[in-house]
Amino acid sequence: MSMRRVLLFIPLVICIVLGFLFAKGLPLNPTELPSAKIGKPFPAFSLATIRNANEVLTEASLKGEVRLVNVWATWCPTCKQEHSFLNKLAQAEGVEIIGINYKDQRNKASEWLKRYRDPYVFNLYDEQGSLGLDLGVYGAPETYIVDAQAIIRYRHVGEVNARVWVELKAKMLALGWSPKKS
């Protein structure tokens, strides 16, 4: 085959390469951003908890265990949707979940936890959203996997449900977490 003939196949090759590229990109969700914080230590904070305004905690309180950190608020409809699943995780799977109550009001948050049950070990009261800003939160709910050294390993944006949990669980198990039945 002459050189000229071979050159005629270039557009076809380009088409196939682009086709593969687009096929790979098509199922990706562009609204799901990769977190800039993966592999980095949890940002420093000093916040009171929801249940006690005098109980001030820092990032040291996250160390010692592989946990989920869930960013939520009473103004967020999806948070309400996922709340019963979080209750289930805490009860049936023994997952330790730490809450960040993001740009909310303490009395509303307490009321919510009383009414819908409380799956959290404790809740940080991030009234101004300053911890949210340092974490790179751009929309509640967001759920982070934080390892025993308080290093952020994964972020999920949006509702945590059974399908998402399969993924989260695999990642937590890989980090040395073991399910505890209580």
């Binding site: 990769p34 340092d134 751009y138």
Partner: protein, 163 residues
């Protein structure tokens, strides 16, 4: 009429821009705030910059940006702050590194390939125009012969008719 159009265009921009009341102590700070809020992308509403979005997160980030500009931080410091939290995504003008080489230099590479192809094609045509193949030479001379004999015939015919 021209001025009227310009005024209309300017007005239409202010409709899209979110309205905040931020105080600045100097025009350079105001200018810096305006430029950064246009260059930084809103993480929630992805096709808008911070200046153009009314989402809660954009408002928070504008406030943060205002605070940082007033405290005298440089453009680089502010961008680093945002990238540390929200990733490269927030920059409408991404920095040059190994993952963005394609983005920055890809178009120039394509342009170069385009020039190369055009060059090759033009060279090929000029070569074939200069040196016609044997086949073409034969065809041409045959055609030439044909036309001359045809003309001769015509001339003869017309000439004889004129006589």
């Amino acid at each position: 009429m021209k001025w009227f159009t310009i005024v209309l265009v300017l007005l239409s921009f202010s409709v899209f821009a979110a309205i905040d009341t931020f105080e600045f102590s100097s025009d350079s700070e105001r200018q810096m705030f305006r430029q950064l809020s246009e260059e930084l992308r809103c993480p929630k509403c992805q096709n808008q910059n911070l200046a153009g979005s009314n989402s809660a997160i954009a408002l928070d980030l504008r406030r943060e940006l205002h605070r940082m500009v007033l405290s005298g931080q440089s453009t680089v410091q502010i961008k680093t702050f945002m990238v540390d939290r929200y990733g490269e995504f927030v920059l409408y003008k991404p920095s040059v590194n190994s993952s963005t080489y394609m983005l920055w230099y890809g178009p120039f590479a394509l342009l170069f390939i385009g020039f190369f192809v055009v060059f090759m094609m033009s060279r090929k045509t000029s070569v074939s125009a200069e040196k016609p193949t044997d086949n073409e030479v034969v065809n041409k001379s045959a055609k030439h012969e044909e036309t001359t004999s045809h003309r001769q015939k015509m001339h003869d015919l017309l000439g004889s008719k004129n006589d």
